[in-house]
Every structure is written in structure tokens, then in C-alpha cells.
Amino acid sequence: MVLTRDFFFQAGQMLLVLLLSPLLTGFVRKVKARLLRREGPPLLQPYRDLTRLTRKEVVLAQNASWLFRVTPYIIFAGTWVAAALVPTFRSGLLFSWTADLIAIIALLGSARFFLALAGLDIGTSFGGIGASREVMIASLAEPAMLMIIFTLALIAGSTQLSAMAAFMLSSQVGLRVSLGLALLALIMVAIAENARIPVDNPATHLELTMVHEAMVLEYSGRHLALIDLTSELKLLLYVSLISCLFVPWGIAAPGAGAQSIAIGVATYVAKLAAGGVLLALFETTIAKMRVFRVPEFLGVALMLGLLAALLRFVSGSL
């Protein structure tokens, strides 16, 4: 009985993240448009885009290999599994012990590995430029992320997300310098990982500064739909991750009743909305930076993460 209920929650979270992620992207676009005094696309536009793309035929380049065709499924599956393992409305899910935070980030790394390979598969210069820049950004963002994980894991005494969220909820945490530095670094990494302004512009095409969009330029139809859905899932994953680690209030504890679950879902949606508004605000107030400024931006994130980890190693109370 308990097992079936736990299974139900795990499946529920998988569906929830899948269904909510296009909405989050639509919401960010809408808020951004309103901030610029434009009407903006309707909230549900990403869903329509996805269904339209899945109905269209795939136009595949003549020399595309099998790797190009399976990559959308691989990256979607990897990202979906990762997103399903981050606590959203309830912690201690059935399979939460399958992968800790390091493994979740590495799973996203696997997805990126295949996407970058797909960018090189057709042998066009756009695909190459996107892939080479993507791995450059990742080569800085991943170590920064690991330093953040080190800091948080040392504070919480665990790399298990459910245990970390539970620790952050307890009174043992207090205000710490290292936590603040880690939060700042995590936000910078999240912006870079999701190809948002100022690192990359999700709304451009045909611009030499673009990264993610250049890499997936050759995709069409259902493949493109999956890749778009994957990026939307990834955005949701990072917002969930930040909220689960730094604003864990409202997450239902394992074994909690229906009421706390309802509170959990409601606060989760509220947190996503708040995250979306903050992202839109940030993106409208800042300009896109040149690609070769990105290493400096991420270098700062890496240094902040390293500093936070060092503080934590040196003293238990910082």
C-alpha cells in the first residue's frame, strides 16, 4: 500500500514536471514581453508549438547518422529522469536514492555530451560553432556547479537532495557566508546552463553569438519538439533545484497527509512563478554579452563556488 502510494507520487512528479515545464517557459516569455510593454505570446503558446512540431514531418540532412536521430530521445530521457529526481512538492520520493545531486548534474552532462555530438554530425559550420561553444561554457559551469555541491553537501552532511532539503528546513542551518556565495554562484551557473541572457539568447536565430540554437539548427519536426521540451525541462529543473535547496518551505515530508501534499504543490507552483518573474526581470535589465566575456562570468561563478567550499572546509560555522 505504502509502496503503491510512493510509486504514485514518483509518477506524479514525473508527469508534473513534464506538464509544467512548457508553461514555465511560456510564463517567462509573457512576463518579459509585458515588461517591454508588448502583448507577448499567449501563456500556452509553447504547448501549441510542441504539438505543431510533432505533427510535422522530419527533414533530415542526407548525411545524418543514427546518432543524430537518437540524440533527441537520449537527451530528453536523461533530462526528464534528472528532473524527476529533484524534490519538487514532496521530498523522499520512491526513487530519490537512485542518484544524488552529483549524479543528477552528471546526467545533465551526459545529455549535453550527446547534443554537442549531434551538433557536429551533419558537418556544417553552424553546428560546429554551437557545439564548440557549448562545451567551452560547460567546461567552466560544471566545475562551478560541483564546487557549489561541495559547499552544500558539507553543510548538510549529504549529497542526497531529499536529505539536503530536510537539513535546510531545520533550524541548524542559520545564516552562513558560504550559503550566500553558493546561491549566487548557483544562479550564475543556472543562467549559463539554460542558455539565458546574458550568456546566450534563447530568442535568436542566425546570429553569430548564439550557442544552443546553433547547435540544434539542423533539427526539425518531432526531433526539434523533443529538444525544445528538453530545454524547457532543464529550466524547470534548475528553478526546482534552487527552490528545493534555498527556499525549501512547503515541501511535504515523506509520509505527510493529503493536506501537506496540496500545500506542497501550491507552494511549488508559486515558487516556479516567482523564479520565472525574477528570471524575466533579470533578463530584461541586462544586455547579452560577447561570447568571450562568458568565461569571465563563469570564472566568477567558479571562484565564488571555490571560495564557499574553502570557507566551509576551514570553518564549520561559516
Binding site: 536523461g78 552528471a106 552532462g109 560546429g128 567552466l140 561541495f150 568565461p295
Partner: protein, 667 residues
């Protein structure tokens, strides 16, 4: 068991004269590689069997120095490395059954190959300093002979020369280390060395000598310079052995002396090992990113992975010195598991590179491309190797790095301040090297196998033979198994850590769903099997749902490329253009990269040129001055070669008087 292992070694040694006798026969390579395959497989089984036997098995032979004899022994540590050596040896022999047929000069490869395998086994089996060093030298010399097998290539001869120098230097350091360990009484048998603990200052000297001696063979920075020259120069199955196995034998030497023979460690030893490991990991991968020769890129990645292994060993030393035995067991398990993993995927990758070399005659990635269409099976297994070495789940490279990270997360409990500051920095270096390795293998796989063929040789490539494919598929399967079911492998390492540290990691195999839990479930756990199942399942669900509910139509057309498709495959991203952003970020500091663009004047039709200058600062700062000094000294001493007989005799007389004086003063 030790006796049986020696029979196996003797069988391998006996193959060498057979190879010489058969050298004119066309079937020589099948006979030698087939026999090597059988013998190494048997040796591997012996290793596997003795891993779980608690008592060490001893054998002594009346060879070598008269009063010493030759001692051999298999304990848990030796058994583990016997498995690693012979797994690599067996797969290389299987691969060579196909690959070796294309060898132009088999008579220069076949006699040395079985001796090389035997020597590596003997290093691991040796139980006294004399047999250890003799086997070590045999290993160096036979691999040197294999490096210069294709001696008409000038580059190979230079590689062989540098390798020979570095190998002698390393052996010299090990010789001195054993001299210090043996003490005044000359206890060269390992059991006697174990019983006496040298003074602190002496042990520090031994540590440094072993770090230099075994490290130069393993390829730690800055003693790595020979490795990327020598490993690619050998035939590919030998490259795989050198990179995948011989570097591990060097790690074995380090572990045997430092963890087993030298007695209790001081805490600061670990600082030296950790610093060396961190720097080696990052420098190795940065060098690799700048390469466009596929085999040389792989050789530099060996340097990187040796760094990761040394980080694990350094952490184990730190924990051991502070008496935190459980944490030490975790760190040592992580390091040794990475030893196993690296030997598997690096052999696989070198086999892949060898198959490409065979099919196209090219090692330079800038002349390859599009091989996934022409060599689909090689491409698949090479991809598996790339994912594994990039430490990506759910394959095996990730598990050992994950364990290393878990060990790092235990280190704030270490009391010493130096380690508190060093360990997070080393953790950052490890994370950086993992991320850069992924970037490097996107480049290696993407430029070699994806895109459009850049030369006719790449366009006309043919899939490699079935023996080579069998070897590669076996190793790829092992990458999967070790990644998905790591608990079995961690448990298999338990006797080794138990023998060296007195404790081992908690038993893993009995846990729910084969999860691995290094310390406690509330702290961290990872389940490769479930991750693999979940990813496969959700990918299949997505594919099924989309093909069922939406369109599954597909049309082939020309590439879109924003409406301006390039006609020439030369416009694709190359290896060096792919690495350009990373070169800009890291290269200016590490390699003093200078990019010089030459634009033709207006109206001129000469092409514009971009020249990239890289400087190897380690070579410039360390090797070049030494080489200069030696050159200078030899020029000066050269006059001694042209003396008259009278002068020679007076020199001899002077030397004699000098030595007698020394003796007189000494006593």
C-alpha cells in the same frame, strides 16, 4: 597459485623464441597472438581466483643474485593488478589477431610482445627488490623495442630515445628507493623490508624517489614528456597495453612501496601526492585538448587519468595517516576502481584508434570525418569508450570519479590545515578535468567519426575485422557492466583495501536494487542500474508516444545550415577550430598561445593565414635546460675521446690513487 602464475609467465617467455623461429611464416602472428591470448586469459583467471584467497601464495626460484634468489608472491593487491594486466593483455592479443595481420614488419613486434606481457606480470608478482627491478627493466626495454618497431619514421626514433632516457631515469630513482628501504643490512626481500621501518627523513626520501620513479613511468606531470611521444608511436595494440596497462603497473609499484612496504605514513606525504595528482589531471586534459593526432590525444588522456588515480591514492594516504581507516578504504577503492576502469576504456579507445588507422592510414583527425557511416560498429564502441572516459553516467568512469568526490567530501574531518586548504582546490581541479575531458571527447569523436569525410581516405574507409571488433565489444560490455553494477567491483576490491588498511568499504552487493552506498544511505547513494533503466525506459516511452500519437514521417534533404550549405567538407569545424574557445580560455596562461592572423593586402589574391603558436612551458623550463646542460657537458668531455695512450694510462693511475685515498680516509 604463485607457481601456476610463474608457469604462465614462463609460457609467455617461451613464445619469444617461437616468434623468432616462425618469423618467416605468414601464420606467425596468429600463432603468437593466439597463444598470448590463451596464456593471459589463464593468468587473469589465476588472479581472479587468488583475489579471494586470504592467504598470500609464495614461490621462490634459485635465480638471480646467489644469496637472495628470486621471490614471487600473490596477495590481494598483486592479484588485482594481475587481473588488470591480463585483462588488458588478453584483449590486446584478441585485437591483434586481426590488427596484427596488417603489420608491415611483424618480426620487429612479435618476439617482444610476449616478453613484454611476461615482464608486466613479473613486476606485479615480484616479492624482492631485485626481481622487481629486473622485471621493471625488462618491461621498459621490451616496450622500447616495440615503440621503435616502425623505426623508419624519424619521430618514432626520437620518441624511443626520449622514452629510453626517461625509463632509465625512473629505474634509477626506484633503485635508490629500494637501496634506502633495504638499509645497511641489505634486506632486499619484501618481507624483511616490511618488518623494518626506516627513519622519518629516510621514508620521506623514499616517498620522493618512488613518486619520481614510478611516477615517470605512470606519466605524472612534469615527468610525462615521453608518454605522448612513445605511446602513439607503437603499434596500436601495444599502445593500448602501454597506456592501459603499463601505467597501471607503475601505479602498482607506487601502491606496493608506499602503502605496503614503507610503514605508517606522515600526514604531509599526502599533500605531495594530492598536488601532483591534481596538476597532472588538469594539465593532461589541457594538453589533450590541443592535439589533433588521435593517438596522441588518447595518450595525453592517460596522463589525466593517472592524475585522477593519484588523487584517490593521495586522499587514502591522508586518511590513513590520520587513522581514519574507513575513509581511507573509500579513497583507495576509488583510486583502484579507476585503475581498472581506465585500463578497460583506454584499451578500448586505443583499439578504436588502431582500427581507424588501419582503415584510413590516418592518425590525424583533421584528415578524417564521417567514419560513423563507413565503420558503424567501430564508431559505436568508440562512442561507448568516449562516454566512459568522460565520466558520464551510467558508464563506469563516472562511478570511480563519484567515489573520489565522496572521499573528498569526507576530508574536512582531517585535522591538518594544509590539507583543509589543499583538498578543496584538488576537488576543483578534479571537477575541471572531468568537464574538460567531456569537451575533449566530443571533439575526438565528433571530428573523427561525425560530419563529412575530409579526405578520400576517410571516405573509402572499410569496417575493421571481426577479431578486432570482438575485442572492442568485449571491453565496451565491461564498461557497461562496471558502470551499471559497480557494487560487485567494489566488493571485489575489499580484500585489497583490507590487506593494505585493515578495513574495507561496507559490503555493497546485498543492498536494495544493487545500489552503492559508500558510507550511509542518508549521506549518498548511487544506483547505475536504475539510472540506466529509467533513462532507457523514458526514452522508449517518448519514442513510442511520439511515433504513435504524432507524425513518424521522415524526408531526407540537403543540410539546412541557415540556407547557405557549404559545398566543401573543408568548411566543417576541425579539431583545432573546435578547441579554439577553450584554447582562448585556458591556453593563454598555460601554453602562452599566440594567434597570428595574416591578411593579404587589398587587391592581392594570396590567401589569408592564421598561425597558432603553442609553447610547452614544462618542456621549456625543465627538459630543455637539462638537455642543454648535458649537451654542453658532453662537448667539453668529448676531448677525452682523443687522448694518447700515455694520457689514458696516467688518467687510470690518477683514478686509482684517488680511490685508494678515499678508502684510506673513509676507514
Amino acid at each position: 597459485m604463485a607457481v601456476y602464475a610463474l608457469y604462465g609467465v614462463a609460457a609467455l617467455l617461451a613464445l619469444a623464441p617461437i616468434a623468432v623461429a616462425l618469423s618467416m611464416s605468414s601464420r606467425a602472428s596468429s600463432v603468437i597472438y593466439g597463444a598470448s591470448l590463451i596464456v593471459t586469459f589463464a593468468l587473469g583467471l589465476i588472479g581472479l581466483k587468488s583475489l579471494f584467497v586470504p592467504a598470500a601464495s609464495i614461490a621462490a626460484l634459485p635465480l638471480g643474485v646467489p644469496w637472495l634468489g628470486a621471490h614471487f608472491r600473490i596477495d590481494a593487491l598483486a592479484a588485482f593488478f594481475i587481473i588488470v594486466v591480463n585483462l588488458g593483455g588478453a584483449s590486446a592479443s584478441l585485437f591483434a589477431l586481426g590488427y596484427g595481420r596488417h603489420e608491415e614488419t611483424p618480426e620487429r613486434v612479435l618476439p617482444f610482445y610476449p616478453i613484454y606481457l611476461a615482464a608486466m606480470n613479473l613486476v606485479v608478482l615480484a616479492d624482492d627488490a631485485f626481481s622487481f627491478l629486473v622485471s621493471w627493466e625488462f618491461m621498459s626495454l621490451t616496450s622500447w623495442a616495440l615503440v621503435i618497431a616502425h623505426h623508419r619514421d624519424r619521430e618514432n626514433m626520437r620518441a624511443g630515445y626520449v622514452y629510453l632516457l626517461m625509463a632509465s631515469f625512473g629505474t634509477l630513482a626506484l633503485l635508490l628507493a629500494f637501496g634506502l628501504l633495504a638499509g645497511n643490512n641489505g634486506n632486499y626481500v619484501f618481507d624483511a623490508i616490511r618488518a623494518t621501518h626506516p627513519a622519518t627523513a629516510l621514508s620521506a626520501m623514499v616517498l620522493i624517489l618512488v613518486l619520481v620513479g614510478a611516477g615517470s613511468k605512470a606519466g605524472i606531470v612534469p615527468l610525462h614528456a615521453w608518454l605522448p611521444l612513445a605511446h602513439p608511436a607503437a603499434p596500436s595494440h601495444v599502445s593500448a597495453l602501454m597506456s592501459g596497462v603499463m601505467t597501471k603497473v607503475a601505479v602498482y609499484g607506487f601502491v606496493r612501496i608506499i602503502f605496503d612496504l614503507l610503514g605508517p605514513p606522515a600526514w604531509w606525504w599526502s599533500m605531495a601526492v594530492l598536488a601532483v595528482g591534481g596538476i597532472t589531471a588538469v594539465m593532461g586534459v589541457l594538453y589533450a585538448l590541443m592535439q589533433h593526432d588521435l593517438k596522441r590525444l588518447l595518450a595525453y588522456h592517460t596522463v589525466e587519468n593517472i592524475g585522477i588515480i593519484y588523487i584517490g591514492l593521495g586522499l587514502a594516504l591522508a586518511f590513513k595517516a590520520q587513522g581514519m581507516a574507513v575513509a581511507a578504504a573509500l579513497a583507495l577503492t576509488a583510486g583502484l576502481f579507476h585503475v581498472f576502469n581506465h585500463s578497460v576504456f583506454k584499451s578500448l579507445l586505443f583499439f578504436g584508434a588502431g582500427s581507424v588507422l588501419n582503415a584510413t592510414g590516418e592518425r590525424d583527425m583533421e584528415h578524417l570525418g564521417g567514419l560513423i557511416h563507413r565503420m558503424p560498429q567501430t564508431a559505436f564502441v568508440f562512442l561507448v569508450g568516449c562516454v566512459a572516459i568522460s565520466a558520464l553516467p551510467p558508464l563506469n568512469g563516472f562511478v570511480s570519479e563519484w567515489l573520489t568526490f565522496q572521499a573528498i567530501l569526507l576530508s574536512p574531518q582531517l585535522p591538518s590545515w594544509g590539507l583543509k586548504l589543499l583538498v578543496p582546490a584538488v576537488g576543483a581541479l578534479l571537477a575541471l578535468s572531468a568537464a574538460l575531458a567531456a569537451a575533449c571527447f566530443v571533439k575526438a569523436f565528433g571530428v573523427t567519426f561525425l560530419g563529412r569525410p575530409r579526405t578520400p581516405a576517410a571516405a573509402d574507409a572499410r569496417e575493421t575485422d571481426s577479431n578486432s571488433l570482438a575485442a572492442m565489444f568485449a571491453l565496451a560490455a565491461l564498461c557497461f557492466v562496471a558502470g551499471i553494477l559497480p557494487g560487485i567491483f567494489i566488493d571485489a576490491l575489499a580484500p585489497v583495501t583490507h590487506a593494505l588498511l585493515g578495513v574495507s568499504m561496507p559490503h555493497q552487493s546485498g543492498l536494495n536494487w544493487l545500489t552503492i552506498v559508500p558510507i550511509a544511505e542518508s549521506r549518498s547513494s548511487y544506483n547505475g542500474l536504475l539510472v540506466f533503466i529509467f533513462v532507457t525506459l523514458s526514452g522508449s516511452i517518448a519514442a513510442f508516444a511520439i511515433h504513435r500519437l504524432a507524425s513518424d514521417k521522415l524526408r531526407r534533404g540537403p543540410a539546412w545550415d541557415c540556407g547557405y550549405p557549404d559545398i566543401s567538407p573543408a568548411t566543417q569545424y576541425t579539431a583545432s577550430s573546435f578547441a579554439q574557445p577553450i584554447r582562448r580560455v585556458y591556453g593563454t596562461a598555460v601554453f602562452r598561445v599566440r594567434e597570428i592572423g595574416e591578411m593579404p593586402p587589398p587587391g592581392s589574391i594570396s590567401p589569408a593565414r592564421l598561425t597558432v603558436e603553442l609553447r610547452d612551458l614544462i618542456w621549456d623550463a625543465l627538459y630543455a635546460p637539462v638537455a642543454d646542460a648535458i649537451g654542453f657537458a658532453t662537448e667539453r668531455i668529448n676531448i677525452l675521446q682523443f687522448l694518447t695512450i700515455r694520457r689514458y694510462l696516467s688518467l687510470v693511475f690518477a683514478a686509482l690513487v684517488f680511490l685508494l685515498l678515499v678508502l684510506a680516509i673513509w676507514s
